[in-house]
């Protein structure tokens, strides 16, 4: 399976190298550096074949992670594994950067030892891994000695992601619905593609072995209940509030290992015994009826050969009581721009020559508002006949609701052995919608 794992920095220096199988020679490390990292041209493919050895790589900021194998493996699985590896490392020491990797290299070796054995993925759940790992990431703070002595109960138990005997004075639950909305819109305002990829991230601090049940306004469930005539709490818990949409159609979703999939398949209810601490309960994607928080209306006019007039209007499309934050509109300018005059009604706009773009920032904006920027771009006359490719206008923002329309209906906690009930648990729910790739062509 996976013959070795290498981590390089952007210069191609090896930060971590771990070889699991003998068929991967020492020169494999250099082969990848020479052929991929130091190659002049752009990366041709995430899978590179050098001398009958396949290198799968992913890049995180400027760190290259490469998995090497000589066998004809399942490509999707190797990539999935690399992602998982990144997740685990992030959980231990935060962002994957050269600095962090150098500071935590012993931890990484230890992780690599546990996650893969002889090239076969073994245990990749951050929670369960914690009991095996002696080192602490620079993020870590809890002493591990006590946990290690309890390992016997953990390794024999069926539940790999939670150990027994956890106690909290205050039982608390934090639930974040984090969504990123992606859009590609034509200049005429036609939606070419739009989808929301969302995550439900939970932090649970619960005692014992609680059983949780999570409900949301999934269309299939609501429709089923509607037939049964008991759809009373569907509209009640209006915690977010983009629009009055009752239910949403989820295209596909994945769950944390702890969720009982059989129950989800049969009755579409999400029930689970949660891991302790932070974890991602589910990941989903929707493509239908997305609330697009902003519309960008671009107007580009070429006045002669040396002047461009750009007017961009953004409209916020959500409840007036809500506030969007960290709005940033990025209007690309041609390479031969010599000067830019910008007028905007709100926020601050600046021409950044190094990025070839006008960056317009607005701190806050309420719903159902409209704002406009107009700019005059002066161009240097060039003999380059190359037409300006007109890259799309991109946008960043953060809104306090879920653009997919997802709403949490309930989250119930049952613990039969200890004496606390659902009402005693303090629950916090938060919705954050962020922009993914939010582009409008102009």
């Amino acid at each position: 399976m996976i013959g070795g794992l290498f981590i390089y920095n952007h210069k191609g220096e090896v930060l971590i190298s771990r070889v699991y199988r003998d068929d991967i020679g020492r020169n494999a490390v250099d082969a990848f550096r020479v052929n991929v990292i130091h190659a002049r041209q752009q990366v041709r493919s995430p899978v590179t074949n050098i001398a009958r050895t396949s290198f799968f790589h992913v890049k995180r900021s400027n760190i290259w992670l490469a998995a090497v194998t000589k066998q004809n493996v399942n490509a999707a699985m190797v990539f999935e594994f690399l992602y998982k590896m990144c997740d685990v490392m992030t959980a231990y020491f935060g962002k994957i950067s050269e600095e962090n990797i150098k500071n935590n290299f012993v931890l990484i070796y230890e992780l690599l030892d546990e996650i893969l054995d002889f090239g076969y993925p073994q245990n990749s759940e951050t929670g369960a891994l914690k009991t095996f790992i002696t080192q602490q990431g620079i993020k870590g703070q809890v002493s591990k000695t006590k946990e290690q002595s309890q390992i016997t109960s953990q390794v024999t138990g069926q539940i790999g992601w939670r150990r027994e005997g956890i106690k909290y004075r205050r039982n608390e639950l934090f639930l974040d619905v984090l969504e990123s909305v992606n859009l590609l819109m034509s200049p005429q305002g036609q939606v070419l593609s739009a989808h929301v990829s969302g995550r439900v991230v939970m932090k649970s601090y619960l005692s014992g072995m609680p059983e949780c049940k999570f409900g949301m306004n999934d269309k299939i469930v609501i429709d089923k209940q509607g037939k049964g005539g008991a759809s009373d709490d569907a509209g009640k818990s209006d915690l977010g509030g983009g629009s009055g949409k009752q239910s949403i159609a989820i295209d596909d979703c994945t769950f944390h290992q702890c969720v009982r999939l059989s129950k989800f398949d049969s009755e579409r209810s999400i029930s689970f015994i949660p891991p302790d601490g932070e974890y991602e309960l589910m990941r989903y994607r929707t493509t239908k009826d997305i609330i697009l928080p902003f519309r960008v209306i671009p107007l580009v006019r070429e006045v002669g050969r040396t002047k461009l007039e750009v007017k961009v209007v953004i409209k916020s499309n959500f409840k007036p009581s809500l506030l969007a934050q960290k709005i940033e509109v990025r209007i690309p300018t041609p390479l031969n721009t010599s000067g830019v005059q910008v007028i905007c009604m709100k926020g601050k706009a600046k021409y950044k020559a190094s990025e070839n773009a006008i960056v317009w920032k607005i701190k806050r904006m309420a719903g159902m508002k409209e704002s406009q920027i107009s700019a005059e771009i002066e161009l240097l006359p060039t003999n380059d006949k190359k037409k300006w490719a007109r890259p799309p206008i991109s946008m960043n923002f953060e809104v306090p609701f879920a653009p997919s329309g997802l709403k949490v209906r309930y989250l119930k906690v049952f613990e039969s052995k200890l004496n606390y009930s659902d009402h005693d648990v303090i629950k916090w729910v938060r919705y954050i919608g962020r922009s993914g790739i939010y582009e409008t062509r102009c």
Binding site: S45, F118, Q148, I151, V155, R283
Partner: protein
């Protein structure tokens, strides 16, 4: 890698490690070891510290143990004798009450990879299989696989194999999956784990318990199972239905792969399964991570070979995002070309047109090629776009457009008028040799319809002295000859100059010999020349895009969910750069690729014979070679040019995508050079499939 202060650091660390003060202070000792590991991972050679580190291994501190093991495992191979000392400590650790220590010791014992230590390792490994802690059993099971890998020749005890089989029923799912993995490796020669009915049903029932990796492994192993009855087959299929639409791409792909192998006898069921995975596959195509998107796209391409209409309605999902990497964009375009139909063609072409001006030249060229492919069925619309692109006067775009037009004309002769009209004036913007070669080919073949053809050629001929590209010179020769045949009056003078230059001054043998060949050909008379040079202008039989028959699923089912689909496309992009269309239809792929796919056992020697060619025009071996390359006969090896008899080994092959087997023809050519010149051709034709095919010798 050279790092500063290597020697110095080693000496300093050795001093610290053997200092009793440091050894007594646990924290200081651990920190020193940490420094050793850090230096090691930076590439400094630390093997000199091996004996000190072996001593540090005997400790109760788990952290220190782990650190030392990391060191030992990387340098054990260099110090087999000293490693023997570690074994004792490791064996002691295997008795430790803490299961983590036991598993750690066991794992590192097997990771030392020293054949000399095998005898010491076997006993703790056997005990490990019966350990009560699951994490120890996990390690022990894989340990046997490592042991087998270490000495592939020696047989693993049958009792151990039996024990591994019984551990398939272990309560811990990871132990179960590890057993599968270990047995697969140990029993590789016998074809892997025995997959019978009870094992299959047991594995299927426990599939849900496993994590992603385990499920993938189980699904892969199960591919070997053949259900005994139809009822059983459908029971299995309905059990696996949930994993087929699993949101995890690896599981979905592995399940589909299993479906296809189980239903190999029932095409209808396989097709239904393909329909079922459409949703999850499309979802994977839109996933946040680009590598997964790429993998999904490659697999969709496979699926489309059998059900071209599978994604028809979802063509918008394959539109490229601005910031996507070039490799994804190119794949998406390849998929888009497959999805084109009467309803979406306008929208699709509009989108592709947008990509033609991409900043990345390769992406732009791929977009233009894609438009050219669509042009085979919608030629008018596409030609309009292509001619429009010429107006941009950008060299990489013009080059790609001219190449695309050349390929298009070869398949759709009806386009030739528009193409001939568009060619005027684009020679000024063409820079690269590929584009100019294409232009020359077009001018040669359609010279009579392009009024400015002689003038364009003249510019080329005037500049031939400074021409660097071999291909362009050869193409120029052929084009001028062809043009001479249809417009002799205008071309005669420049042809003379060109031949004179090539024969008298040119230093490259290939060009010179080709010129000589043409010169002698002209001596044989104009009719002879016409016969040789004016071959076919087009080959409409290559087929339009839409009517292409769907391949049976079994064509590609074996390569599904492996690395193959990811590799295929990269070959396609390379073959974008090429010579004339006559050559490309044989699709000459690089040699290395051939050796990958060839399996000697499957080649049967169909026939070999010896042909004598009594009359051969007097010419040099090089020109023969050049002439043969024109008809896609490649040289494998040849004797030095001056020797007599001169021998050359030749091969040619067909690699048509839709043919079930490709034909490889090997030949030996013997050039005796004796008075009545004789050339012998031994033909050995090896064929994987149907029947023998001879070759026509153009000599």
């Amino acid at each position: 890698m050279p790092y500063l202060g290597g020697e110095e650091t080693v000496r300093e660390l050795r001093r610290a490690l053997s200092n009793p003060n440091v050894q007594s202070d646990q924290l200081r000792y651990r920190n020193t070891i940490l420094k050793v590991i850090r230096a090691m991972s930076q590439g400094v050679d630390m093997s000199g510290l091996f004996s000190e580190m072996v001593k540090a291994c005997a400790t109760v501190d788990v952290v220190q143990k782990k650190l030392v093991y990391v060191f030992l495992c990387s340098y054990a191979a260099l110090n087999p004798e000293l490693s023997l000392l570690v074994i004792n400590t490791l064996r002691k650790d295997c008795q430790d009450p803490n299961p983590m220590v036991r598993s750690l010791a066991l794992r590192n014992m097997t990771n030392l990879r020293l054949p000399s230590l095998v005898e010491y390792v076997e006993q703790p490994l056997a005990a490990g299989l019966r350990d009560r802690a699951a994490c120890v059993r996990r390690v022990a099971v894989l340990g046997w696989a490592k042991l087998h890998n270490l000495q592939a020749s020696s047989e693993i005890d049958a009792a151990v194999v039996n024990e591994l089989y019984s551990l398939l029923r272990d309560p811990d799912p990871v132990v179960m999956v590890n057993c599968l993995r270990a047995l697969e490796e140990i029993l590789k020669d016998e074809g892997g784990v025995a997959i019978n009915k009870p094992i299959t049903h047991h594995l299927l029932n426990r599939l849900k318990e496993c994590d992603i990796w385990g499920q993938c492994q189980v699904l892969r192993v199960l591919q070997r199972y053949r259900p005994q009855s139809e009822d059983e087959l459908f029971d299995i299929l309905s059990l696996l239905d949930a994993s087929l639409v699993s949101p995890h791409p690896p599981i979905m792909a592995a399940t589909l792969s299993l479906f296809l192998s189980l239903c190999s006898g029932q095409p209808a069921v396989s097709l239904a399964a393909l329909e079922r995975v459409r949703g999850p596959l499309l979802a994977a195509c839109g996933s946040g991570s680009r590598e997964m998107r790429f993998t999904a796209l490659c697999h969709i391409q496979l699926l489309l070979r059998s059900i071209p209409g599978l994604m028809g309605a979802h063509y918008k999902r394959f539109f490229c995002g601005y910031a996507e990497p070039a490799y994804i964009k190119q794949r998406k375009m390849q998929v888009l070309v497959e999805l084109v139909n009467d309803e979406n063609v306008a929208m699709l072409l509009d989108e592709l047109k947008g990509y033609c001006t991409d900043v990345n030249a390769e992406t732009a060229q791929a977009a233009i090629t894609a438009i050219g492919r669509i042009g085979r069925s919608y030629s008018d619309r596409c030609l309009e776009i292509l001619t429009g692109l010429l107006g941009l006067k950008q060299d990489h775009i013009t080059s790609a457009v001219v190449q695309t037009m050349r390929d298009l004309v070869w398949v759709c002769p009806q386009c030739s008028d528009t193409v001939c009209f568009a060619l005027e004036g684009c020679e000024e913007t063409l820079q690269d040799s590929q584009g100019r070669q294409a232009l020359l080919w077009l001018l040669g073949v359609y010279g009579e319809r392009v009024s400015s053809a002689p003038y364009t050629l003249e510019v080329f001929i005037d500049g031939v002295r400074s021409e660097a590209s071999l291909g362009v010179k050869m193409e120029l020769l052929t084009a001028t000859m062809r043009l001479f045949l249809c417009r002799p009056a205008e071309t005669q003078d420049m042809l003379g100059r060109l031949l004179h230059y090539c024969i008298e001054e040119e230093t490259d043998m290939c060009v010179r010999d080709q010129a000589l060949l043409y010169y002698r050909l002209l001596h044989c008379g104009i009719e002879e020349t016409r016969k040789v040079l004016q071959g076919r202008r087009s080959d409409p039989s290559l087929g339009v895009l839409i009517g292409r028959p769907a391949e049976p699923v079994s064509q590609w089912a074996r390569s599904f969910n492996t690395l193959e689909p990811l590799r295929q496309g990269s070959i396609e992009t390379e073959s974008v750069s090429r010579g004339s269309p006559e050559h490309t239809m044989f699709d000459p792929k690089p040699n290395a690729d051939l050796s990958n796919t060839l399996d000697c056992s499957r080649i049967e020697k169909v026939h070999s014979e010896c042909v004598r060619c009594p009359t051969i025009p007097r010419c040099s071996p090089q020109s023969l070679q050049a002439a043969m390359q024109l008809v896609n006969i490649q040289t494998l090896a040849f004797t030095p040019p001056q020797t007599l008899p001169w021998r050359v080994y030749l091969y040619t092959h067909t690699c048509l995508d839709d043919a079930p087997h490709s034909t490889l023809i090997l030949g030996e050519l013997l050039y005796t050079g004796e008075e009545p010149q004789k050339a012998e051709v031994h033909k050995g034709s090896a064929d994987g499939g149907v029947g023998a095919e001879g070759i026509e010798d153009d000599m």
